[in-house]
């Protein structure tokens, strides 16, 4: 981007009641400006009716993901300098999720699929039992470690063409969470979980395009997790479901 440009040409998706279009705004350039800064400027200085979602501004809460120049990004940690084409930006709501208004999407389908993937811890002990000893060099613990820093931002869900093509597909984030639980030796719900992730819309729908890993802001690799689930369900089949 030309740093001498004083303004950015920003196209932002505006939508209400299912009727949407891009509107263009002139936004002043600032040093170290993020995409979220740009959206906030438009809402505060140009059009207070613009709706968008954010909370922490520091890449922890996973609220502010949007499509930026056609690719899914966490906007609070994405610098304008790195993604703008010339002096222009196109900011749209996350792909593959229904739009509520402007840049705000309905996250319900995304989280419903976490439940459908049985991505919920099933305890095998009570609080009265002693703490389960799991050492840091435990193989399963190391495998779980690779999958546990997800911030639920749905960037992977928006990057995935299988989600776009198959509404039943559970998606990278839910399957990644299930994989972290498959590697939790304290969990008592493994048979049900493997059944959930190998049912219609489960891990075997993944085409290994690896867009999830490419765009995950926390550099997780859901494709790795999904391939682990594929192996685990294949092994389970050979053991006749045991």
């Amino acid at each position: 981007m030309d740093k001498t440009e004083a303004f950015l040409d920003v196209s932002i998706w505006r939508e209400q009641n299912g009727d949407g279009h891009f509107e263009t705004y002139q936004v002043p350039r600032r040093a170290n400006q993020t995409i979220l800064d740009v959206v906030a400027w438009v809402q505060q200085q140009a059009d207070p009716t613009l709706s968008y979602r954010f909370a922490c501004r520091v890449g922890m809460c996973g609220s502010c993901a949007m499509m930026v120049n056609g690719a899914p990004r966490w906007t609070c940690r994405t610098h304008v300098l790195k993604v703008a084409e010339g002096a222009s930006l196109e900011i749209a709501p996350l792909r593959n999720l229904p739009v509520i208004k402007d840049l705000v999407v309905d996250m319900d389908p995304f989280f419903d699929k976490w439940v459908a993937a049985d991505a919920v811890f099933a305890p095998s002990q009570t609080r009265d039992d002693p703490m389960a000893p799991i050492t840091p060099d435990d193989t399963m613990r190391i495998a779980a470690d690779d999958a546990i820093e997800c911030i639920n931002c749905a960037v992977c869900y928006a990057a995935c063409d299988v989600v776009a093509a198959n509404p039943d597909y559970l998606g990278p984030a839910a399957l990644n969470r299930s994989w972290s639980l498959v590697n939790d030796s304290r969990d008592a719900g493994q048979a049900e979980r493997l059944q959930a992730v190998s049912a219609v819309g489960g891990c075997h729908n993944c085409h290994s395009q690896q867009g999830c890993a490419k765009f995950c802001p926390n550099e997780l690799n859901p494709t790795l997790s999904i391939s682990g689930l594929k192996r685990a369900t294949a092994k389970s089949l050979l053991r006749w479901g045991r």
Partner: protein, 113 residues
């Protein structure tokens, strides 16, 4: 134009695998039909075999062999991804599959002309 969320090597490997699969699925019925002519109409088969000596047809065959090879090596890559312990070298494996497919198809072409 490829949309921005798809502009990475492993999505291109995916689409190459998908398109080569579709190409082979379209080719195979024609291939089996031509083979069946050996039993049903040998004269027509001989005429067709003479037609395949044309350089243009050899070039098309190069494409077919490339599709076959890239689908086979790409398929092996995907089976390794799904059944072997994870490797971080996914892009290298995809590039190797394409390189091997070029090697095989170019070898075929050099021998054919």
């Amino acid at each position: 134009m490829i949309r921005p969320h798809r502009t990475h090597a492993l999505w291109l490997a995916f689409i190459l695998h998908r398109l080569s699969g579709i190409g082979l699925a379209l080719f195979l019925p024609v291939h089996f039909y031509m083979l069946s002519l050996a039993l049903t109409d040998p004269d027509q088969l001989d005429g067709f075999l003479a037609f395949t000596d044309l350089l243009l047809v050899k070039c098309a065959e190069f494409g077919l062999v490339f599709l076959l090879a890239v689908h086979m090596f790409g398929g092996l890559r995907l089976m390794a991804l799904e059944f072997l312990p994870w490797s971080p070298r996914q892009k290298s494996y995809a590039a190797t599959a394409v390189a091997l497919a070029f090697f095989v198809s170019t070898g075929f072409f050099l021998q054919a002309v």
